[in-house]
Symmetry: C2
């Protein structure tokens, strides 16, 4: 099998798993690899505006049933559930921005001022991300979907099934996590969730629009 | 090399390429595989709220220099540039929603009404996506970032370099594409762009936060 064929096979066998095995769990090594693929995912200006919560506490998993209907199938199986948080504070004048460039990437003062100016102009004028808190959060949230996609693809490559979860009441879930001391609402919001486990069902037929319907070649 | 090691190698060799070869082009077969990975990417409710424009026209590539500073490095090389559009019209009562479930997935009238109700509640109450046009567009745009991530990872697996591009003036770019007849502004907005080619530079050192800084295990 060529690499190209292998890739198509992986993408065709990934689907939103509805019924997970209650016995077979993802190995520590595979889970680590999936999480590393998230950590190493690209993000705008390399800002890594995310955090990943691995939900293993049984009581909390049970509580989740109240406000995350999209997670029910996952909670019924032997899955790992990852709650993906997105940052709310990623602006040029934030402490996080300074920490990212000065302490992590260790750029010079001059380079810092230059990237800060560029980033601020980019956010304010080019993509108009500073209109309100929601537009800024949604931009950070978009970056987390890169990590989300990579985790699911890596899982499929390792023969592991997954289910992305947007089906939750965001306000209730955030309040719950905040009450549990797991979320500083000034810094993070819940972006999306994803579960990993092994299927205990037949894969449904994949129905997609054809390439010609979603692709236009401008020649 | 185990599959786990192979994955980490792929993620470590992917970076935002700043200088592309002016000679070596991505093969048709590899480009097809990259685009197929986008088409087969998951999206919320399987709505595929996207379209991909492959920008090969030399005159237009040149025009792009005016309003896409983030694309300059890519335009200077022998790259393929994909403009990723997100749909603005994905609501339960849209024609697109009906087409997706009735014509594409061929569900019964009863199942259609059920998924429509569920979807509307999800958009309106759970994620509050119907606040305004921007919140709805940004949700569709998030889905395109899954495809974006997958395309870059698949490219890296095939030994192809890439650069995600958010550095453009959204308003100007959309007006240009609309004027060229390539974008119906009632249906689509520009979400993000990405280029593919071969590096003509040394890969910079990858700087990332450590896993312990972005992961919390709730036990």
């Amino acid at each position: 099998m060529t690499k190209n064929e292998e890739i198509l096979e992986v993408f065709n066998k990934r689907y939103a798993c509805k019924k997970f095995s209650t016995e077979k769990r993802v190995s520590d090594e595979d889970l680590k690899t999936i999480l590393e693929s998230a950590r190493l995912s690209p993000s705008s200006f390399g800002m890594e505006p995310w955090k990943f919560l691995l939900l293993r506490n049984e009581e909390m998993r049970n509580d989740f049933r109240q406000f995350a209907w999209g997670a029910l199938n996952s909670l019924n199986g032997a899955t790992e559930i990852v709650i993906i948080l997105a940052r709310k504070d990623v602006t040029g004048d934030s402490e996080y921005f300074r920490d990212n460039w000065k302490n992590l990437k260790k750029v010079s003062d001059e380079a810092f001022e230059a990237v800060k100016d560029k980033f601020t102009k980019f956010q304010k004028e080019h993509l108009k991300l500073l209109e309100n808190e929601r537009t800024l959060f949604d931009w950070a949230s978009k970056q987390t979907y890169i990590a989300l996609g990579n985790m699911m693809t890596v899982a499929a490559y390792l023969g592991i099934d997954s289910c992305a979860i947007e089906g939750f009441n965001k306000e209730q879930l955030e309040k719950y996590l905040s009450d549990m001391g797991l979320l500083d609402l000034n810094v993070y919001g819940v972006s999306v969730m994803v579960s990993f486990g092994y299927r205990n069902e037949e894969q449904p037929k994949k129905i997609r629009r054809e390439l010609k319907d979603v692709l236009e070649i401008i020649e």
